[in-house]
Symmetry: C2
Subunit: 462 residues, 2 copies
């Protein structure tokens, strides 16, 4: 095998970068568990009919086949179409998992899932062929209370706020608000209007107005009102009632609009208390309004909007169905690879070192390695990540080995290297400080024990 | 989608089982990091030539192809063979990763990797098509000291010893011992002897003796000595010198044999100090002796030997090569799915509940949900996993909801549900104990805060 090269769309990280990815993922997981979401891991593959679901066939799915020949005669057929493909998100597997295990789950079912997904798409910034998502969902059996739509937004915002990343803005909208407004305005082809308004950012208001006339037969007044409606947004810290007033001022009335606005206001109120400054209502958010049925979410990093949404989701009234039994769900998905990759590529986050090791025990001579191992074991027993120098080279060389990898402390064994002997010293190789230390009591500060992962601001970078 | 069924060979777990898997994986990771192994995650796919490596084509590899058409014209060709396949272990990707990033890694490179792998094999107990492995390896640049062969065995044994699983026995052997013995005995086709002796467990000593005569031309004396040699093993707690004496008594001499025995003795000595009672030398272990070049390891659960080895590995003098630059490595791999699946299938390990939630905050009335959320947030801030009851049903029903999921505590809000109000009470629903509690200071015992995962012994099961 000659020197291999990276595969486009399949990102991999060096150890210091992987520590960043893992630290961020661990913190997301920690918040999800604090809120009582249970981990689920689904297999990477699903039968193709499950992946294609409601008949969409434009998905770039990777199919599997064996290198050695075809299916074996003993293989059970899977549905009509025995082929397997890699999952392209974590929602389709969740729906299948819920149907498969409904009798053994307790509802509302709260699960988080942090896994890789695969899409055979053309790679570009923020778009990968293999990437990690961190999803939370609440799934009901028959019904699912609205308050879970508030909850998942808050949990995701709290989880993201715990990370060393730039500030975020989560924008929320509600399918009922849009649907109610367009119906109240006399435009019955709601899906048609949504499709056109969704292009607003790309094509601008004049083209949208013209298209609304052509595709849904909107009058120029109706088109103008659609555009005004899509321009309504709340501001963090402002009274959510202002949002209602702004929509009401457009003079359109419909019970569904009222219902949707009341729901949006509840989300804004809760967010202002629990994650102040993060959440805004934005009626131009059209993401997924064609398939979501209630609140929808999308989230951008302030100053890195071009990266796209790093956390999106919404409510489905019918996540899954088994005959008459319907499972509504609401969920939100953090794009871990997009987030971490975007920050690493820009040098905006950094791990303090490329290894968990906090202490390197220097080896005075190869014959003393056994005692050095004993010493390392004593430090590890108290939770200090420790390794023993791979060689008994001159101390200067052993220190350089630690320095290259960012290990903050080098331990010099005493008269004999075992813990009980006298004369142990520890050196902080960043400051050069060296002092006597007892292997049974010495403790580095917490910020050195685990690898610190910190945001790097632009100023600091330059 | 009608009710889906499991896919054979692609195991999935219910939430309580997943907590077991995750707890065990977290503990393995914790030990690996304490010993200074850095996390690496490689992409799931490799180019087919990388997977086929040294020309073995009998691997049951899953290849990928896109559902929509073939490769795009802009896709860069990958080697001679542009096809991608799912990795079937974590060693092949490690070797590729080391070659690709050699200039940016520091050696000896210590990495752990916990990931899924895929093999298109016929599923059976302990054999899956998708499973998780937890590997540690130390990779040198040019050279790699022997002491790392001691190290990885000890780290793996320590990691496994930290788990709520049955006792383990790790059996070690050394390629040099076998090679030196057979050469010293006058049997030059070492690989041939190894292949025959490897069948000892399956076909018995008489067939092995007969085959040795046929395939490597062994005399009956040589065959008998091979069988005696394969019967040598150390016992935990016995002096490792006994092992050397037992081999020496067979009267075969070769410098490679002496070198290998000295290495085995060093492994045994270190194990007796750091993980007493776990490690034995067993000269019948032939696993991978054809491709490993030094120490080899395999590990069984006591009483569950039929599950196969749950932790295996060894030393390769040439893990990877780039022209003249050679990277030797030594590593060991825990079969997480085999281990966890084997224990779960037998009911030998159990999580105390199916959710991380420690406290369910009861909701007296839907209008008080906001205050209940505030209360839950106060508990979470102090690290207590908490959720708010999904409904404001009668308290009895809310308690049953907690009970069904194994949540140990239900919190009854006081006169007003917010933290500052008086009259809060918490009930341990296992004992029925209920007492006044302050949301800003009350703390459940640590064994309730995180979900306890415990071994279940056969006695307890019945």
């Amino acid at each position: 095998v000659s020197r291999p090269r990276p595969l486009s769309g399949f990102p991999e990280w060096l150890p210091a970068e992987q520590i960043v990815a893992q630290t961020l993922t661990d913190r997301l997981r920690r918040t999800f568990e604090l809120h009582g979401f249970a981990a689920v891991q689904t297999r990477a593959v699903e039968p193709v009919p499950v992946l294609l679901g409601k008949g969409e066939t434009d998905k770039e799915i990777y199919l599997l086949r064996r290198l050695q020949g075809d299916a074996e005669p003993g293989d059970p057929p899977v549905g009509e179409d025995g082929r397997l493909g890699l999952h392209f998100d974590l929602t389709v597997p969740l729906a299948r998992y819920v149907l498969e295990n409904a009798g053994r789950l307790s509802f509302p079912f709260r699960r988080y899932q942090i896994q890789q997904v695969w899409r055979g798409e053309r790679p570009q910034e923020g778009r990968y062929r293999e990437f990690t998502q961190a999803d939370i969902d609440v799934v009901g059996d028959g019904t699912l209370s609205f308050h879970h739509e508030v909850e998942v937004a808050l949990v995701a915002a709290e989880a993201l706020a715990s990370l060393p990343i730039p500030a975020i803005v989560m924008r929320v909208n509600n399918r009922k608000v849009a649907e109610g407004f367009y119906l109240g305005l006399g435009l019955d082809d709601v899906a048609g209007v949504l499709r056109v308004v969704d292009k607003l950012d790309k094509v601008g208001p004049d083209v949208v107005a013209a298209e609304l006339a052509v595709t849904v037969g909107a009058t120029s007044t109706q088109a103008r009102q659609c555009l005004q409606f899509a321009g309504v947004r709340s501001e963090a810290g402002r009274d959510p009632a202002d949002l209602v007033a702004a929509v009401t001022a457009l003079g359109v009335q419909h019970p569904r609009l009222d219902e949707g606005l009341a729901e949006l206001v509840r989300v804004l109120h809760a967010a202002e208390e629990h994650v102040p400054g993060v959440l805004v209502a934005d009626l131009s958010v059209a993401r997924g309004l064609d398939y979501y049925t209630g609140t929808v979410y999308e989230t951008h990093l302030v100053g890195l909007e071009s990266l796209g949404s790093i956390c999106s989701g919404g409510r489905y009234d019918e996540l899954a169905r088994d005959g008459e039994r319907v499972f509504p769900g609401v969920g939100i998905s953090v794009g871990v690879t997009r987030l971490v990759g975007g920050l690493l590529n820009r040098g905006l986050v950094r791990a303090a070192r490329a290894t968990p090791t906090c202490v390197l025990v220097a080896v005075p001579a190869e014959e003393q390695r056994v005692g050095c191992e004993r010493l390392a074991a004593a430090l590890r027993r108290r939770g200090i990540p420790t390794e023993v120098s791979p060689t008994a080279a001159k101390y200067g060389k052993q220190i350089r080995h630690a320095d290259r990898r960012g290990i903050p402390y080098v331990w010099f064994p005493g008269t004999g290297p075992s813990p009980g002997e006298a004369g142990h010293e520890v050196k902080d190789i960043r400051s050069g400080d060296q002092h006597a230390a007892d292997p049974d009591t010495w403790m580095p500060p917490a910020e050195d024990r685990a690898v610190a992962v910190q945001a790097v601001d632009q100023h600091e970078k330059e």
